[in-house]
Symmetry: D2
Subunit: 336 residues, 4 copies
């Protein structure tokens, strides 16, 4: 039984609390910390069987009983808290991205050196039943050598322009998952990124210096060509698809819906639209990523999504940003 502390009681922190309480029998949450901890959250935490709540995350860092920390606080705190937790000898699960600044990620990498501590980054989609199945098909050789990889990722509704201004922009806060997926499905790193982008959803996003629609072409080190298409707003809901085409065939996945009911009438045959957003689509994945992390801690094995997996997509996002700025293909080596 792994004793866990969770730092950050926002939306994703609460998701992990629920996952662990309901679906991760090997872990027990001792403490939940949040600078804005209030009575409501404290009561909810008690109902979830959490022993202690606090406003000060150091209560977790300094608790010798706590073996593993989940960092779900704001992005700018991910790296420094990671380092504090590592130095306190704790295993770390950190939400993505570790940081927008690769130097800070390298500091975390340095902190981990020589310590036998587990570090997992929150790329939850790798644990989704569909993405996992397409990757398994590729890994099993069913498509042969990957040649073209297509990833569609569209959100149901755009963030506020205010959020975009601090999030690092679309490539850093949204596409980062797709960059990770490209590496996961191709089984290797990226070599070059080119972005064709536009502001088609909300001019305010453009004024905030970001884009809201993009087609991103990536050349992977194994020669596979990846294309990611993103949009901040899809009226039919969260669109999360992928396909890997290769020398022996193609593996493809599509969206999930609440049910598979279809209604046929004079207007056609109508099924349900995709599940609304990430909380609906990826709840099973959130559970499974934490299970996987706890398993790695318990069995002293590699985490499924290590610190390098946290670094690489940030580099890809940086290359994407540079590609937009200079309107040209950008090699990863230029930003590393």
């Amino acid at each position: 039984m792994v004793t866990v502390g969770i730092i950050g009681a926002g939306r994703i922190g609460k998701v992990h609390v629920q996952s662990i309480s309901n679906n991760v029998p090997g872990a027990k949450i001792k403490t939940l910390a949040d600078p804005f901890m209030n009575d409501e959250t404290a009561k909810w935490a008690e109902g979830m069987g959490i022993e202690k709540v606090t406003k000060d995350y150091k209560d977790i860092i300094n608790d010798p009983e706590i073996q593993a920390v989940l960092i779900c606080s704001s992005t700018d705190t991910h790296a420094p808290i990671s380092i504090e937790a590592i130095n306190a000898g704790k295993h770390v699960f950190c939400e993505k991205p570790i940081d927008h600044d690769v130097n800070k990620i390298h500091e975390v990498i340095d902190a981990l050196k020589g310590k036998n501590l587990k570090y997992q980054v929150g790329f939850n989609r790798r644990f989704d039943h569909n993405f996992r199945a397409v990757q398994a098909a590729v890994a099993a050789g069913k498509v042969g050598d990957p040649q073209i990889i297509k990833i569609t990722s569209r959100d149901p509704e755009p963030p506020s322009p205010a959020y975009v201004a601090v999030s690092g922009g679309m490539f850093m806060d949204m596409t980062i998952h797709d960059f990770d997926m490209a590496r996961f499905l191709a089984g290797c790193d990226a070599e070059e990124v080119y972005v064709q982008s536009a502001v088609l959803v909300d001019p305010e996003i453009g004024k905030a210096g970001d884009v809201d629609t993009a087609v991103i072409t990536i050349k992977m080190k194994n020669g596979a060509l990846v294309v990611i298409d993103n949009c901040r707003k899809s009226v039919y809901g969260y669109d999360q698809r992928a396909e890997v085409f290769g020398s022996k065939g193609m593996a493809a996945i599509t969206n999930d819906a609440q049910s598979n009911v279809t209604v046929s009438n004079q207007d056609g045959v109508t099924g349900e639209k995709p599940l609304f957003f990430f909380l609906e689509r990826y709840m099973q994945a959130y559970s499974d990523e934490i299970k996987s992390f706890i398993d790695a801690v318990e069995n002293d094995t590699e985490t499924a999504v290590g610190i390098e997996d946290g670094l690489k997509p940030v580099l890809m996002a940086m290359a994407a940003n540079l590609s937009v700025k200079e309107h040209r293909p950008v090699k990863l080596s230029e930003v590393e």
Copy 2:
């Protein structure tokens, strides 16, 4: 090149004219006969390259150049014209049903005895790409021994009560295709039929002594259980599906639509409804059945749908009618 005469220039007669003109290079239509032949039809026939039109089908029977006759006239004339054509030494393709009265069908069987003439019955669905594929899967052993066979057959719009009164009723004019399909997919004959039926579409059909909705259970001689569901009115169009479940798996087919486009929006994901009715769904099948008939004539091989295949579904329809009347399962041996 087989020289053909077509008797009957109604809807289905015209379908066969077009099929032969466009898609059956091995056949040439010399004469088209119809008691109601008029200028419009005559002109149309000329445009299709037909040499001669006539009101008297005997012009076809008596023409020594004509090798094969397609009988597309009203059902009550199918058997007598078949016999005339056979006696004139012509191969016959006859629309279904040959007759509502099995005695008349037996007269045709008797007429064929000892003559090397081809006789094919117009069960076009056997030539449909989907039904053919499901049957091929069964024949290739992909489902093992058939255990449960399901056939859905629903028309987009009911016939007039007047038509029902002369058609022999739903089992004889509509389900007859499904009875044939049951034999085609099971690969054997029926043993017993039970009908649960209702008048749910049009009370006038009930007043005419017929039903418009039915679930028909059939026990086949190889032990497979067949269920056919019929309705005279399906608002989303012609519904023509089948599945064969067996010891090694299941083969299933569904409807065709005009295109496979789907539109996703806030209301769901909508595809096109099935093709409207038999002319839309089965045009390829109508062509292929005539090609098959002409091939049998040219190569002196068995027709794909012989005279026995014309008889058996009529017996099944009779058993179905008796089942409705006496509200009990009826053995085929009771009506043979």
Copy 3:
């Protein structure tokens, strides 16, 4: 917070323990009883946060703190324990079927009279996301008046002949869910049942006096025709589909799979087979039925599946058995 006792720690009892622990925040399991309670189960129960385990279900009946009882013991004990629990003032959730003998079910009905106690029967499929969606479409009028209802229900592997001998047979242990589904989807009771059945899977099942394959036709009181097809063995897994066809359209559902991945290669386009069996397919439904029961207890509302819903499918199974025996359609009024 409703305090619950669970009687029976077999497969389905454990499913409910897990559901409540993980997904029903409004309930707390105090006691788990099973005549074969052993150390392993006791330890597992402790891990699930259950306060007490016992071999004697009376420890639950007699515990004044326990408000609701889940009866997951063998079928023959369902009715007597239901009555004991009711007399002790407890709400009851009872697995299906309540009993094979309608008289015993009537005794439970009598016991409930005049008491404001909730009684829910374990027809879990009503809570499955797909079946719920098709029923919701029907209830919303999207198909108009139901005319033909089709239910496919095939198990991945047959039970042992020994099980069949005590289970009450296929109609009582397996089709009972489909009988319930017929009522759920049609929105009314059955009037008449006809069965065409066979032994096609395992001759030993036949020797035990049961069938393993059946097509069941039902006439509902609202005129809709229902057809259920059952087989004890489907090599591609648990096949659980339904469609409701009516005057305004059709609502249909199909199976769920572990993922929606497809692999395209020279052999075709292959997707995953359906989820293996009920534990895989219906875990969400098991959770939701208990949530619904607890809600009914907490809010003093009708249970979603009441005692009458437990009685009616048993009558339908009896009619089905009589239909097999006498090979004729059987009215429900004959067995009531």
Copy 4:
């Protein structure tokens, strides 16, 4: 009735002969010309009802009875024969591409000026039932403003390196259809093209100076982003899909197969792979494009795919080639 001459009796010439004979009642082929005309082809042509065959296409140009010419000869002859036919006062249907050299296309444009002659280019996919349906959905406003357009186009087998050397390369001989489709679906012209390409199928294609796999990003003048993915070899057959995503939804199409049969067994649920190649997939489209051309001639209306539609994709292919050469995004204005 339009009298037609066909120049070129290769594969596509024969397709048009068959289409007109079988499915275009408004046209009559008088003459078929091919420099390699032989007895076999002559006999076949006679069987198709063609009056005259010749080795000299000038027999068509100089025949005053012939109103319309179909140019199906080798690409290098498209432009000069077009001009000869135009100067002879004939309507022209010309296979794609008109030429690899835009100057030659401009000469055809000049030749057409001031003459009321119809000119149609053979972009057959615009007439395919699926592509037509997705375009119709876009044109009907069902997706709102197009934002992301995805076109997948993969051939079942690569051409010989020898062919590639003379075809103008992949962008000119294969992607040219997708460039046309981008314009058709977006409803406007392209502004900029970027290509990420590779030689992953056959190194000999690389040695011949071409690529065999590519992801092409296009910015359209209305702001929509288009991505085309191409591969010269898809083991599961011809892959021809598209989707248009916009402010109000998405319209998408997928492949057609020979039938929709699926076989379910312990290995999964398997459907047929896509139709093998363009002759299988687009036969209906080939027919309909000629019907449309003949209609335009008969009714003196605009052709559905005019000379400008023939020019623009060639410019896009030139931009694509330049993008590969200089590894950068290329504006259409650079090649016009």
